[in-house]
């Protein structure tokens, strides 16, 4: 189950911790491509939960940027590995 944590401001929605995880994993997947699938999974999972929470959970920006970084890391990994086999 997704955990929540209080953030600054009484009227601020609780933040999806999985969104933060997605952002951190996404950033780490840029130098360490093998983390990219985990970043993408965490980001998609977080975005789904945020959408289902009907505005209760926040963190959409972090999750979205984690997703972008994860996709970038994954693309670099796939292209870099594929080039090895496809090089003329």
């Amino acid at each position: 189950m997704d955990s929540t944590e209080p953030v600054e401001g009484a009227r601020t929605n609780p933040r999806s911790s999985r969104a933060t995880r997605a952002l951190v994993l996404g950033l780490l997947s840029l130098p360490f491509g093998l983390l990219a699938p985990f970043a993408i999974w965490a980001a998609l999972s977080s975005l789904r939960r945020i959408r289902k929470s009907n505005g209760v959970l926040s963190g959409k920006t972090s999750a979205a940027f984690g997703l972008v970084a994860g996709i970038l890391g994954m693309t670099a990994l796939i292209v870099g590995t594929a080039y090895w086999f496809l090089a003329p």
């Binding site: 840029l30 130098p31 292209v79 080039y83 090895w84 003329p88």
Partner: protein, 581 residues
């Protein structure tokens, strides 16, 4: 205070963009662009005493080293350590002993300084080059030390460069090529020494085999100089010094590039020099693979090539401190566009016999060589489990693993392959290891440099028995006959067929070569050492086949194709070995 959403989104976007540019996405993108960049047009070089070599790129085939007629060239040679700046002193507490052998070329004109047991190897003299050529070697890998080349920051030692030029001149006179190797072992002999290691499990440093960087470029940040697991490279001070080099701390990498450029400026028009090996056995420091090679090592090679050739492959960047992988380097106005660059993968590849990086284009400069050290069962993982070579459970693909994986690796890099180091202490096991490596080199049609030509002390690895520590001390003892049997081999010096197959059997002296040719193709030239006494036979599509006997008893077989398949063979016959048991 709450950060507005737009600012937060912008900050996150910028953060991801910067990290992406500095890491794999940027590195892969720049490599793909380089892969699509046409090779720079180059002018015909001034004719040299020896034919200029280059890397040929056949359509869909494996790149290979070729001569000015496009024929594949196999380089066979040894590594002579006489120009390395080894630590040497009778006083084990002295960390900065001066260079032992003279640097002034005048000390070697028609004479040779006396050998000394203080040094791991004898001085390199003209007789060595003549001996190598008589042995059938057509090349020398010449290791140098940055500490002698640039002993003070920004001041290059012209006398040392003259000494290098002297050796290149001897090689030219002997008809041999030279690969100039920026050598190092465990970074530097200036990593420091402690008498009592402060950390548990550490052993005191033995500086005798530490070489490379000058003192001013050895930044250890106070990490203790002590070794672990009996490996000089597993040393906190060494790892820290390497890391600082890769991150260009205090601009030391810029100085290193300038040092190579100084050498290249001197030898720019010299066809005797095959090319440059910018870094021997690169150790990652504290960095992990594959990021070390993809984000630090190969981008460093790209910068060296940019600086020396004038190609502009990376992005324009700052210099003087950490340069990310996308960065190229400024043109240092050498414009050397004819020499080869021998690029070594990280040291971990030597330990695993497995590629430890993504195979991506390094440079649009066409004369690149993937330079490998073949130390299967000497330094590979099986040795950490103390497994004998005959019973080793790694590498899973045997001796072939490193070579078979190197082919797609080199194709991806658009590079030829060369074994820039291999060797093993001879003996029953060692002979089998060396023979197995040579068999793989034949199978994959790659040349080699043998470690090592001569050495003092135990002398286990060298082709000659070490000299006894007498006064005066000779350069060496006798040639080891088991290495003479293995290394004085029949091999094609050149052939217009890059797909030829050949095999020499050192146990019988028999040889066979199968190739194809078209009418008018340049000749295949076979070297037959004096040790091999069998009859040469040529069959198939040849318009001409001649055998010339050299004064030293070796033979050159020159075979001109007339079209179709042809074969050359040498019958089994007793070897005329001259070495000692």
């Amino acid at each position: 205070m709450k950060v507005p959403g737009a600012v937060r989104r912008l900050s996150l976007g910028l953060l991801i963009l910067v990290v992406a540019i500095f890491t794999y996405p940027g590195s892969v993108a720049i490599s793909i662009v380089i892969g699509l960049t046409p090779a720079p047009a180059v002018s015909t070089p001034k004719p040299g005493t020896l034919p200029w070599l280059h890397v040929e790129h056949p359509n869909g085939g494996q790149p290979y080293i070729a001569d000015d007629r496009g024929r594949m060239v196999l380089l066979h040679g040894a590594i002579a350590q006489g120009l390395i700046d080894f630590w040497s002193s009778a006083d084990p507490t002295l960390t900065d002993s001066p260079p032992f052998y003279p640097i002034d070329p005048a000390a070697y004109d028609g004479k040779c300084p006396e050998n000394s047991d203080y040094m791991p190897a004898p001085p390199l003299c003209q007789a060595d080059l003549q001996q190598m050529a008589a042995f059938g070697f057509n090349s020398l890998r010449l290791p140098l030390s940055w500490s002698l080349l640039e002993p003070e920051r920004g001041r290059f030692n012209q006398m040392y460069i003259d000494r290098i030029a002297q050796v290149v001149g001897w090689a030219r006179a002997a008809g041999m090529y030279v690969i100039i190797d920026m050598h190092q072992n465990a970074y530097s002999r200036y990593v420091g020494r402690v008498s009592k290691p402060p950390l548990p499990g550490g052993d005191p440093v033995l500086l005798r085999y530490y070489t490379g960087a000058p003192a001013w470029a050895t930044i250890t940040d106070g990490f203790p100089p002590e070794t672990y697991l009996n490996h000089r490279e597993i040393n906190p001070a060494v790892l820290e010094a390497f890391s600082n080099f890769w991150y260009d701390r205090s601009g030391i990498q810029d100085e290193y590039i300038a040092a190579i450029a100084t050498l290249a400026r001197r030898f720019k028009d010299d066809s005797t020099v095959v090319g440059y090996s910018p870094f021997n056995e690169p150790l990652p420091g504290w960095n992990l693979p594959p990021g070390f090679e993809d984000l630090l090592l190969f981008p460093f090679y790209r910068r060296v090539i940019d600086a020396i050739t004038g190609v502009h492959d990376g992005l324009p960047c700052w210099t003087g401190f950490y340069m990310p992988s996308v960065c190229g380097y400024r043109d240092l106005n050498v414009h050397d566009v004819h020499h080869l660059f021998f690029l070594e993968a990280g040291l971990l590849r030597e330990v695993t016999d497995f590629p430890t990086h993504l195979g991506l284009p390094v440079s649009s400069y066409p004369n690149l060589v993937l330079s490998l050290h073949a130390y299967t069962h000497e330094y590979t993982l099986d040795t950490f489990a103390s497994q004998p070579p005959d019973k080793a459970t790694y590498p899973w693909g045997g001796y072939d693993q490193s070579y078979a994986l190197a082919e797609p690796e080199a194709r991806a890099m658009k590079a030829a392959i060369f074994i820039s180091e291999f060797g093993f202490p001879p003996g029953q096991v060692g002979d089998r290891v060396i023979a197995s490596q040579l068999l793989e080199m034949e199978k994959h049609r790659v040349g080699f440099a043998f470690w090592t030509w001569k050495e003092n002390g135990g002398g286990n690895w060298s082709m000659f028995v070490a000299a006894k520590p007498t006064t005066p001390m000779q350069a060496n003892g006798c040639l080891k006959s088991d290495l003479e049997r293995l290394l004085a081999r029949v091999y094609p010096l050149t052939s217009a067929d890059p797909n030829l197959t050949y095999h020499y059997d050192p146990s019988t002296g028999a040889f066979s070569l199968n190739a194809r040719g078209r009418p008018g193709d340049s000749a295949t030239v076979l070297y037959v050492p004096a040790e091999v006494t069998g009859q040469v036979t040529a069959t198939g599509g040849l318009s001409d086949n001649s055998v010339a006997v050299n004064p030293d008893g070796s033979r050159l077989v020159t075979s001109s194709p007339s079209g179709g398949a042809f074969s050359l063979s040498i019958s089994p016959a007793p070897l005329a070995l001259t070495g000692c048991a």
